[in-house]
């Protein structure tokens, strides 16, 4: 009986995990994905959980988001928070254990190629990204599921608009089983939808306070990021709203120290409180 047949016989009798190689593993799998935003990493206990689904809602206007009739008619025109998402993908790519490719699903989630270039014209992220143009939620869910199953894919970024609880649970389970992060971009009015995501974030545009018009070469795009939910995290144990800023020089997103806010400051409206409870 050959070695392979002997192993198969043992596995049939005692289960697949009965035979293990004594060879050292090349690398240990990371449990968390460091976002590079120190305060957020600290609040999350080491970063975003690797084997989980993370939903990013946005981008909402800086004022308190109220779904008025005009917004209802313009749902097709929502803008996904591509800046923070590209930053997270770049961070994930920098991990040594990261698998080869990132899959972007849904045309709305396709970032402009210029932001995928790294410092010094580094094309690694651009060349390791694949873009799947699908429209319907069912097709997007199928592609997300298939990509998460593939060993050659390390990260999935998908347009999650229209996904229901069952869809997010399916993605969460696959992400957990294959130890990969899945990032869903969702429109801001879907924050009330039930979801199985590990974390949920709401991204808003952050208006600058200053003169009415100032011609300047130094202003940077800013967003406020609010953590709506984090499974396993004690409520109100740490700040849950932060300000992010686009670093034009490096093409990265970093924490904005100038307009950092603490818990309570961000959620001063009834709408924000409702979002937190969600």
């Amino acid at each position: 009986m050959s070695l392979a047949e002997q192993i198969r016989a043992i596995e049939e009798r005692f289960g697949e995990a009965a035979v293990r190689s004594a060879a050292p593993r090349e690398h240990e799998e990371l449990s968390h994905l460091l976002t590079g935003w120190a305060e957020i990493d600290a609040a999350l206990g080491g970063g975003l959980m690797m084997a989980a689904l993370h939903e990013w809602f946005g981008v909402a206007p800086s004022k308190n988001f109220v779904a008025c009739r005009e917004d209802e008619t313009r749902r097709h025109a929502w803008i996904p928070p591509l800046g923070p998402l590209v930053h997270l993908v770049r961070r994930a790519m920098s991990c040594e254990t990261f698998s080869d490719h990132a899959v972007w699903i849904g045309r709305r989630c396709f970032p402009y190629g210029g932001v995928l270039l790294g410092a010094g014209g580094d094309r690694r992220l651009l060349e390791r990204s694949i873009f799947v143009a699908v429209n319907g939620p069912a097709d997007r869910l199928w592609v997300t599921d298939l990509a998460l199953h593939s060993p050659a894919v390390g990260l999935v970024i998908a347009d999650g608009s229209g996904f229901d609880m069952a869809a997010t649970r399916r993605i969460q389970l696959v992400a957990k089983a294959h130890h990969k992060p899945a990032l869903l971009a969702r429109p801001p009015w879907e924050t009330h939808e039930l979801s199985a995501a590990q974390t949920r974030w709401l991204v808003r545009f952050e208006a600058v306070s200053g003169p009415v018009y100032e011609e300047s070469n130094s202003f940077n795009p800013r967003w406020s990021v609010e953590l709506l939910r984090c499974k396993g995290m004690q409520p109100d144990s740490c700040p849950c709203a932060w300000a992010l800023e686009w670093d034009r020089g490096e093409g990265a997103v970093r924490l904005s120290t100038a307009v950092a806010r603490q818990t309570g400051d961000a959620g001063d409206s009834t709408n924000d409180r409702r979002l937190k409870q969600a």
Binding site: K63, D100, P111, R123, L146, Y213, F219
Partner: protein, 514 residues
Amino acid sequence: MREIQRTIADSNRPEVCPSAGSAFAVVLVAAERGSQWVAGACEGAAAKGVCLGMSLAHAKALLKGTQIWERPFTPAEDARRLHHLARWAQRFSPVVAADEPDGLLLDMAGCERLFGEDRRMVAMVDASLKKLHLPVRLALAPTVGCAWAVARFAADRIKIVSCDHIREELAPLPVAGLRIDPLFVEALNEVGIERIGALFDLPRQGLACRFGADLLRRLDQATGEVNETITPLRASTPIEATRIFDGAVTNLEAILITARELLFTLILQLEERTCGARTLDVVLQRISAEPARVSIALTYPNRDAQHLWTLLRPKIERTHLGYGVESVSLHASRIGKLSPRQLCFAHVEHGSGNQGDEAAWGELLDRLMDRLGLRAVCAMTVAETHVPEEAFPLQAWSTMQERVPRRGNHDATGNVTRIDRPSQLFEVPEPVQVISLVPDGPPSWIRWRGRECTVRCGCGPERLALPWWEARRGASPSPSIARDYYQVEDDQGRCLWVFRDHATHGWFVHGLWA
């Protein structure tokens, strides 16, 4: 060190061709839409002014008083004969390729030990071809591109080019010798570039921008800056498996089982050759009907039965069986080399991670393209242009094999510099209403998507203009030849990338930092 290829390019005409002084002429005639035109002519006819594309009546008028042999133009038959000739030429070199429509490429590297020095070797090839009554032009050169150009356009019928004189030999030849698109040849001639030598002194960046990266690739191949290999003819037995039924079978389940068994047989043949299938065809011979053909194309060579069956099964299930199927056959019409797979112990693989990843990647792409279509799966490429909407085009993955090969760590388009650009760029710029405090100045109030907002801060302008030749020939979909871009932040916190169009004086939002 770059491997130097020694190549003979042979420009031949397969038909028996009389000399210029004879009293008859051979003309190949092609018929299209009721008209007959000259698709080929012997040297005697050419000497009297007959040229390709000319109408047959015109050619007959020029050849008045000469006996004309009219032969139909059959490119498929010509190609078949050329391949036969290529097999015959394998007596001179093991690496021979047919360069359609009228050339042969022989890699003569290392053959000097058998046939002696270069001059003697070329003379021997020439003498052998003369015995076949084939008028040929021969060139022996260090690169394929150089040999191709010299064989066709040099003054001498037989020419030997040494390694140190590639540029000197190429310089006086016409740019058509670079094997580029005739449209680009015409465009180069329009601007006064008729000889290859004129291209050596021009800036490469400008050439790529105006005439495409293919021109530079061909130029580099001819001069030896970029390596070019010959894909030789290989005699191979087909990889196929067939099962003939006793009678007509209408049961789909039986056909599926048979097809699956044939697939395993085919995979065994692939394993013996350490190959994987790139294209797999299934043919169902139906009674009283045309054979039903099902085909799958794979991104990477693959011989994983489960994956191939996942792609094949739904296609076979959708096939109409008609009155019954008499036989099922599987055929790997295109194959690719696949390294032998390392056996693993306890589900842990060592040393074959890249191959495993490539296979997994290929399987993912195959399944995506099979279900969503070839155009749904794209990769982002870098184009050498500063026009924002054209700088990073999405290219279907199925066409990515045709990309320009890289030179070292960079591709032929050169390095890319990162410029601050919005994270989202609209495919079509959205019109926006703007109020500026000064004429043609930056916006201070905008109305976009039905909402009015005040601009709180901004910077610009950054003027982007289309190349004049793009604007003149209308090749670009961009609406105008110049735009002034501003980065503005409104009172909602949105950072927009707006521009003023010089042609229409209208304002548009082109993207935003989201």
